[in-house]
């Protein structure tokens, strides 16, 4: 009974610390970026260059490369252990 209460208290303390630390962090500067001003110009640019599609492909490609590095790190770690 005693140990369960202690453990619950520890978890509550950790949650309080995390909430406190995160609440101290600043808001994202890109959070309020609006496309209103440049929306027309982005449309014009997209008329000549498919920026949206390129970004989508790039994002997908970047995810693949990230996964590659992640797997390579795991494999190297396993090899190191071996």
């Amino acid at each position: 009974m005693m140990l369960v209460k202690i453990l619950q208290g520890i978890l509550n303390f950790i949650a309080w610390v995390v909430n406190s630390v995160i609440s101290l962090l600043p808001q994202s500067p890109f959070l309020n970026v609006s496309s209103g001003v440049i929306d027309d110009w982005l449309g014009y640019v997209n008329y000549f260059v498919p920026v949206g599609q390129i970004m989508a492909v790039f994002t997908l490609w970047l995810s693949a490369i990230t996964m590659w590095y992640l797997y390579r790190w795991v494999f190297r770690f396993v090899k190191y252990i071996d």
């Binding site: 995160i22 500067p29 440049i38 000549f48 498919p50 599609q53 994002t59």
Partner: protein
Amino acid sequence: MRKFLSLMLVVLIVSNSILVYAQDYTLIDNNLGMKIAPILIGAGLAFSSYEALVSATNNFIGFISIHFPNVYNRVVDLVQNGLNQITLDDEIFSAVEAFVQAMGIGQVDIVGTAHIPLTNVFGAESIVQQIDNDYVVSGVSEYYDWVLNIPEGTIAIVAASMQFSGTGSGSMELTLRMSASGNQAIAEKYIYDAATLVAGQLYNVISYWYLKKIGGIYYASVDGVTWKNVGTSVKNRIYVLPKLKNLYFSLALAVATVAEVSISIPANDVSLEIDDARKYREDKEVFYIPPIADIGELVNVRYDHVENVGQGGDGGVEVPIDYTGILQGISGILQSILSFLQNIFQNIVNLLQTIVNTMTQTIPNLVQSIMEGVESIANLLTEGLIGDIGSITIPEIDVSLDSKFPFSLPWDVARLVGIMNAEPKPPIFEAVLGGPFRNASLRIDVSEIFEEGFMQKVRYLELIAFCIGLAIITPRLIGGAK
């Protein structure tokens, strides 16, 4: 310890196997041996002890060799001296009679013809001839009716080559009659017609029919006499025992059967009996050899009660080896070993039983107590010290990470991409030209310059070019294609 137990187990199995084998070996027909015993004595064999006799009889497995070293010279002397009468030794009869009486195995009834001089045994017409230094006794007697009335259970010894008159077969007839009447016949291998020197008609009758059926072969040999090739009529396949041997052998065997009946085995001129024998064989295919009558408790009678038994004969006596004593000794030793090992194993079994009983009664209680103790400790820990683990709750994190820098960067990127993914639209440029152009307005609509299909193809080509560029730089990033 394990090796010791394995060794003892192997010794136990081996000794037990040998013991069983020894016991089986000594279980040769005792009754047959006791039947043979008077025959052996009557034939002149002497035994040093009762055990030797029992051994000789018990180990009778179908072939007994009796040696008559002096009979040849004795008969030759008799013949050369012109004697026409040969008598059997009285001591042989005495020995047989004493044995039979001591053993109580039957009434000594030496009938008629067997207990008379030789000339009478073989009838009045018996003669002694000399053929190539062998002596042939030939004669005719009336035995046919007697053979028909042979008592059941009689052991008959058919001589090796009974001398026959004409083409008949006395021993042949005797053998056949006895077998057919439910008696046991013991026959020698060859039958030979002394008068005609023709053995072809009978030579294989006993050899091929009875040899494997009868209870045994009673064989006698005589020093100084050799086998003789009979002649061309049987294509050298038949060998005849010396006539002297046949004579004495026949007499000895005849006397030997006095345990139940005395048999004289003269010859007879009955040619048709050959056909009868063949017919019998063809009809029956095999001959019936019944078991010898049971003598029972006679086996236990001591030979010590008999005095001066078997001291006759011709002087040359072969004493059989007493295997019984050896086997009994081996059996005793093996029995001792077996008993010793059985005691050891019994003690081991008792010890193991005690241990097992202790374990089966004590260990469960002990385990039960331990389990109860563990359960009490577990209850104390879970309820008193630890408490209910299921009551623990995970506290929530109230702040969202997608808005707090720098944790919000992935979400920021996603938002920027979404902003840049605006709907493409053709630009329209409008301007007012002043001065020399008198404020004329200028309007350039790109969609009017390029058709939509054309710009769409251009965007596709640009996207493909971008993908190709990614494909080119990818190997550099992942370290391949060097």
